[in-house]
């Protein structure tokens, strides 16, 4: 464990900026809200800011991304295809534990199972990840219910925990070790580990006071979702409130469904574009011709929550698909973010 005093943060960031495009939380000038953004001005980094409104998912899994480019010359019938390389290494600094967990879920999904997703892999190989312990939870948070915070346990290159004066720095990789040595951080001393644990424990016990927006006791809901014993009326009630905007998927740190389209550009070339998609859309499962196996909106809602919370789906991530960041509750026009859905399912179980 190392010690980074508050005034030395810029040292770390400046060093990172030499090799990486740096992303981190910053505040919007007008609204004061927090956005996870590319920091052209490194001084805009705000490690004390609340959990950002957007998850850092878009850095690894962009909303709109060209994956290959091809040119087909109709006369000569000649085809040239090129893969689009993502050259720029990126550093994500100030990741909240939930968002880091989200990235680990994406890793297990995109890089695991039958095939390795080459497009994701390229993004992922060039990342430097620095997490930031939530020393106090934010109103929307329920990561303690989903086992994904308030502090990171794995997957980071460096991990920061704010003590009031500076940061305890935990090293998670050789890359991280090298950086710490390069900028000459001092060891934090023998008590550091215990100190970090105490800060985390205090954070956990303050959830009752600060994290008041959402309660999602997901274990009972998980059981019900897995077995499927949820009355159709519950899904209908939820489905009636769904505005089919797709936002819950787009803001979810672990949602990774995508669409692929070939887009013809001026000059004759075509980009194969991969974009975010959501299983809540009617056209998502539609096949050319005449058949849609999944039609009513409540079926599609059902599908998404099954994917987030059922045991069988958690195989994909080796944990639940929800990381407790509370974003879906904030962006949902229908007020059926995951915590509310869990409440409705629990209400059915308990008959409250």
């Amino acid at each position: 464990m190392y010690w980074l005093s508050g005034d030395k943060v810029s040292l770390l960031v400046d060093r990172l900026a030499e090799d990486y495009a740096v992303y981190g939380p910053r505040r919007d000038e007008v609204s004061g809200e927090v956005i996870f953004d590319r920091l052209n001005l490194l001084s805009r980094l705000d490690l004390q800011a609340a959990i950002p409104y957007n998850p850092p998912k878009y850095v690894l899994f962009p909303q709109y991304e060209e994956i290959i480019k091809y040119l087909y010359e109709r006369q000569s019938r000649k085809v040239t295809i090129e893969k689009i390389d993502k050259l720029q290494p990126k550093a994500l600094i100030g990741l909240r534990a939930c968002d880091l967990t989200g990235i680990l879920c994406l890793d297990r999904f995109f890089l695991g199972q039958e095939f390795v997703d080459e497009v994701y892999l390229e993004h992922r190989q060039k990342l430097f990840l620095i997490s930031n312990t939530c020393v106090r939870p934010f109103p929307q948070c329920f990561c303690v219910c989903t086992d994904s915070g308030p502090a990171a346990r794995e997957g980071f290159d460096l991990d920061l925990t704010f003590t009031g004066q500076g940061y305890l720095v935990l090293v998670g990789s050789r890359k991280g070790q090298r950086l710490v040595e390069e900028i000459g951080l001092q060891e934090a001393g023998p008590e550091a580990m215990a100190r970090r644990k105490k800060i985390i424990d205090e954070s956990v016990s303050s959830f009752d006071n600060f994290a008041l927006e959402n309660k999602a006791w997901i274990s009972r809901a998980t059981n019900r979702l897995t077995t499927g014993f949820i009355k159709p009326e519950v899904w209908e009630y939820i489905g009636n409130q769904c505005f089919e905007c797709g936002a819950c998927s787009f803001v979810c740190p672990t949602c990774s469904c995508f669409n692929v389209e070939d887009v013809n550009r001026m000059g004759g070339a075509t980009d194969r574009v991969r974009t975010w998609d959501s299983c809540s859309f009617e056209g998502y499962t539609k096949m050319a011709g005449d058949h849609n196996p999944r039609k009513p909106v409540e079926d599609r809602r059902n599908k998404r929550f099954f994917c987030k919370l059922s045991y069988s789906q958690s195989k994909k991530y080796l944990r639940p698909g929800c990381v407790g960041c509370g974003r879906c509750a904030r962006v949902c026009p229908g007020d059926i973010g995951l915590p509310n859905v869990v409440t409705y399912i629990r209400r059915e179980i308990t008959g409250e």
């Binding site: 809200e33 590319r38 909303q63 709109y64 505005f243 001026m266």
Partner: protein, 672 residues
Amino acid sequence: MSYYRGICNFCGTGCGHLLQVENNRVRGVYPLPGHPLSRGRLCVRGWHIHELLQTEERITRPMIKEGDSFRPVSYEEAIEFTASRLKNFRGREVACLGSPRASNEENYLFGKFARAVMKSNNLSLTSDAGLEESARILLEGCGFPAMTGSLSELRQAEFIMVVGGDLTKQNPIIASEIHFARRSGAFLATISPRKTQMARLSQKHLRPNPGTIWLLLEALARALQTEGLVKADYLDDKIENARQYLEYLDSLHLKQVSELTGVEEQEIILLARKFYESESAYVFYPVGIQSLDRRSMSALLNLFLLAGKPGRPAGGLCPVTGISNLLGSLDMGVSPAFLPGYFPADKEISWKRLEELWQVSLDRTPGQSAGSCLLENQSLRALLVVDHDEEIIRHINRIKELDFVVYFGAYQNAFAGLASVVFPRLSYVEEDGTYTNSERRVQLSQKKVEPPAGIRPLWETLSRLAGALGQPWPYKSAEDIMAEISRVVPQYSGLSYEKLRASPGIKWPVDDLHLSGTEYLLAEEAGCRFRFVFDRSPDRFQNISSVNEGRFPFKLVVGRSNYFWHQNSVMKRTFIPKREYNALLLLYPKGFVEISEEDARALGLREKQPVRIISEAAEIKLAARISPDILPGMLYIPYFIEEMISGFLHHQASDLEKNEEFFLPVRLEKVE
């Protein structure tokens, strides 16, 4: 930084968003947290605006038509050519069609070009009919032309009534605010023949037969009267023509209304009571392409006045605009009825004022909408159009006959092909501009990316054209134009870019009395005097009873759909919203007509069975889609199916333009 604050440009809600810009391209969009109205939410359209902004199907150079094709030319040549042609046309020979998607600055200048340079008052938007009507009624009734309440107070609402339309589809984030209000305790009622999602979210859904919404609304007023819920002293004090209106209501019998609308008398009384008992009330109705009709809008106003609701916070009469800057375009006077700032075009004093401000003489000949000109005005010879959606294609034959057509547009579309000259226009992220949403919130959308090389802003093109036609204009930027707008449009008098840059929008009127804008209409400021708006026609039931039987037993209603509505030219450049639209058409490749379960059973219809819809004038073959949302006796087709617009409904084009209450008597036959 790669995320920049902005305003969504799709519908009249005006949600805040963050656009992700990389290498001068918009690569993503995210809802803007902390926006006072949208509060960090977007709808399916808003979530995909970056797909539209990625398109390369742009108009990038001025072009002059030669034979069947276009020749790219320089701005100089295009302006010289256009000016040399335009100087041959004046007044009634010219019609100008503004765009509710263009900024206030662009619309203001386009209107000025029409009136001051072309001397023509044939100046309109396509989808203005409903909004203009609503403005006229609200002005007459309460002296204020737009939404009298404010959406940012919605969550404090006690009573909300949504009349007509399909709000969760047209303005999803406004609908979301209503949904939240209901969840925090407001009473929500929907009046609509179709069982919309809003209806499903409501505590009360009244389903009047198509064409009888206005009658049901009058009946609610009548119920206030019969239940003794009308305060005589309030009426005498505040409302000029109270006695006449009460007399008019006297002749209405709830029992008869119940028969004609299909809504039970008890339900009418119950809702009227609920409305009366609430401290304040919101009433929402759609204006735009699919708008409530004049009678229904008047009846709503009257009901609102009779119940004593105006001037209270957390309530109001709320016309909801379907397209981003529809309200702003009308504020700017892109209308035959109003000069900029809602000065009525039939008052000499309005013209005198504008002549003084513009320092130019103006023609007083009453104008028509561009649509009416194309249908009726035989002397029409030239047409100027800004960035148009494709439905004007309905008038394709008339447009082909015109001598000269100018198109100013950002994207390639079928309409551009009809033009004699095409000028490119910037997309809304390539230039500063202000947009005014349904609740009068004027928001500044700042430039975020550099335009494709060589494209000049519309205000500059118009200024150069005006100059070439002998009226040099001094504008150097969009901000300059706003400075002029603040002198010409009293509601905008306190607005400036400086003020707007630091705010999430300001609701007009912004003036000396309301420096930071206006949340809701204060009764005192309206002069405390209201008027009921109604026609005392001898037979108010005339149009209702005649259509029920006979050769055409069904009432065919035409509606909009979530992902596509009427904005083909915009939505077809996205992936996901386009797919969602295609999803329906994939299931029903030849289009569909919705029919109630009851009628389908009676006729022995199966899902997707082909049927023929026959009206007096035309017929069309479609697949039946059996829907629980439809009332028996009613048929519903979505507006977006091109064949319907161009073929079947073409005969009804002028009726269709009028309002949502429009229905077509038809019969339905099975195709064996």
